[in-house]
Symmetry: C2
Subunit: 375 residues, 2 copies
């Protein structure tokens, strides 16, 4: 290993492999495109920081207009708050009394930083545990009721099931009803524009039914939050969503390139790459030094950037390349990871390159502050 | 997060989730079974430390008779050597001149610790790069020629192709011919005893053909090293292998439970678990807080320990449980990971529990020293 600081300012060619590299020019363009979209459509942007797990990138997104970030885990929120990110929404359920103490401590910390903590709930049990933890602790937590809009994971049933939860929230002065958490994760990766359109139309119908039930019971819904990089233009156009949680737009998963392009959705570029090196070559394949300990494969294998080669899984530390023209031992091969979020989580640092992957230089070393933050 | 030291001595019930937990009693039994097997069959054991990435566990294996450990990466070797592991074999090709400098520094470090470094090569190009790096550096590196015995990844063709490599090694006083690296990774997971038997018979034929070619050219083969947890009894019985590289036996992947049991192979117990908690329950499923950021899924999803529940992938941070009797919010669910190696690599620490998962106590915190060591 080199000292990380030694690589700053050096050519990208000198980066030891495998390494996770950001094309900073592409990332900056993605950042600007998303900021312009949110501004044009009058929706707030709260990118999901579970993707990059970096306080530096969270603050960069907030400097470009994001109102704050989402996270999935209490420990992710703690890692980002410790580095000054002051507006964090845990878009997920937390039910352990031990963790809920940490959630309350975090709420106080964010208030001290001039921001606020929000969290999702989807059950009376979870809500009462949260209320017990925050009682008498001199802070206010914004609470979103998560509804299952078709993903089939967490969330209450849409409609009247949200009413008793809103009533319970109203009974606790330390809790403030934030609105609805409504995210359909699987729909992000439905391949055709038509499928995504149909599923998000159902999502919106579920949100409207829930809002109507809450209004009939006397509860206004301050905000509907959700959406991801595959569908956010649909949620933005609905007039129902006030906040978008897309996160992958910054780096762009290889998997999203398999989606049929929706003309209403702005285009993003791949900005995250695994730099790898050819270590072995035989008659019908070459082997690179990047296997699934360097990139996540839950959304499929990486593609090879700029070369007509297919990547096959060679295990934890190997990738098998096949194609008409194989690279030679020692050559560099850039891979585009299938899914950025769990890929970033495998690395301690992201190396930001300016001026192109081939001839650029390392301008920035970005720490993955919440890497491995599971609790 | 709690301070890690706070959890020492506390009940396993107090471990925050998700967390990676070792059943120390089961691990100790696996350790003893493997040591007894190697002693009985007169073969050396050099477990693959890419599995646990821990100097503590490497030293524990060496205290139980292992001659040293294997690793896949230079940085893994560096992390273990820095903590006193003095006999390390990089069972993989290294071709970057920058990394080869590190390999040579490591060889000197291990010699100073009274041990030795070994490395695999599979090409003249790689061998000449290694020879150039070590030239005049006052250390000796043991070199194994890797042959492709059917896995289809790295390795020269079996037979005569190894001869020029052995001749080249003989021409460099700083290189010492160690023997043959012959590992068929995929065969470990062939389901039937018959398939594994046939494939390892072919492996052994390839090794014998290569040994014969080398002997005909005047080169003795000091050692044949290889084998994994799925097949090692076959390699051990061959009389051809002098050293076994099995690593997973210590923890046992869930995937190995799908192999048809070979009576000649000793039985191991699952000793590695992800502790998770139920965070949401609805009519037809429950959701736990452990997704594929807490366990690797390259060899399939985890199974649920001791409960008649099926685990489905719920994304980075969620698992979906289905079954006749669903657990309630807040309940603990223990998962058995599909593949231990990349699962351990997702965690900074392993919590060792003594006295059973339900009622035991945390006896040991084991750092994953080479976590994320990719280069």
């Amino acid at each position: 290993m080199y000292l990380l600081s030694d690589i700053l300012g050096r050519p990208a060619a000198d980066i030891d492999t495998p390494a996770l590299v950001i094309d900073l020019d592409a990332m900056d363009r993605n950042l600007a495109v998303m900021a312009a979209f949110a501004a044009k459509h009058g929706v707030k942007l709260r990118p999901h920081a579970k993707m990059h797990k970096s306080a530096t990138l969270a603050k960069l997104q907030m400097a470009h207009g994001a109102v704050g970030v989402c996270v999935q885990k209490t420990s992710e929120a703690e890692a980002l708050a410790a580095l000054g990110v002051n507006n964090i929404y845990i878009s997920n359920e937390v039910v352990s009394p031990f963790k809920l103490k940490r959630v309350v401590a975090l709420a106080r910390e964010l208030e001290a930083l001039g921001g606020q903590l929000a969290i999702a709930v989807d059950s009376m049990e979870g809500l009462q545990r949260l209320a017990k933890a925050v009682h008498g602790q001199h802070c206010v937590i914004r609470v979103f009721i998560e509804i299952d809009v078709g993903h089939g994971r967490c969330g209450t049933a849409p409609g009247a099931a949200a009413v008793p939860l809103a009533a319970e929230i109203a009974g606790h002065p330390a809790l403030q009803f934030g609105g609805l958490q409504a995210y359909h994760g699987r729909a992000q990766h439905f391949r055709s524009v038509a499928e995504r359109g149909e599923s998000i139309a159902q999502v919106i119908a579920h949100v409207l039914a829930t809002t109507a039930a809450l209004q009939a019971a006397g509860f206004e819904v301050p905000l509907v939050t959700g959406a991801g990089t595959g569908t956010f233009s649909l949620e933005a156009a609905s007039g129902v969503y006030g906040e978008l949680q897309a996160g992958s737009y910054l780096f762009m998963d290889r998997d999203y390139a398999s989606n049929e392009r929706d003309p209403a959705q702005p285009a993003f570029e791949h900005a995250l790459f695994v730099k790898s090196q050819v270590m072995s070559v035989c008659a019908d394949h070459a082997v690179v030094d990047a296997g699934h300990k360097s990139h996540a494969i839950d959304s499929g294998l990486p593609s090879v950037h700029g070369l007509p080669l297919d990547y096959a899984n060679g295990g934890d530390e190997h990738g098998i390349l096949r194609g008409a023209l194989l690279p030679a031992i020692g050559e560099t091969v850039w891979l585009i990871p299938g899914h950025c979020d769990p890929t970033v989580n495998l690395h301690d640092h992201l190396l930001g390159v300016r001026g192109g992957l081939q001839h650029g230089k390392v301008e920035q070393i970005i720490r993955v502050d919440a890497r491995g933050a599971l609790t």
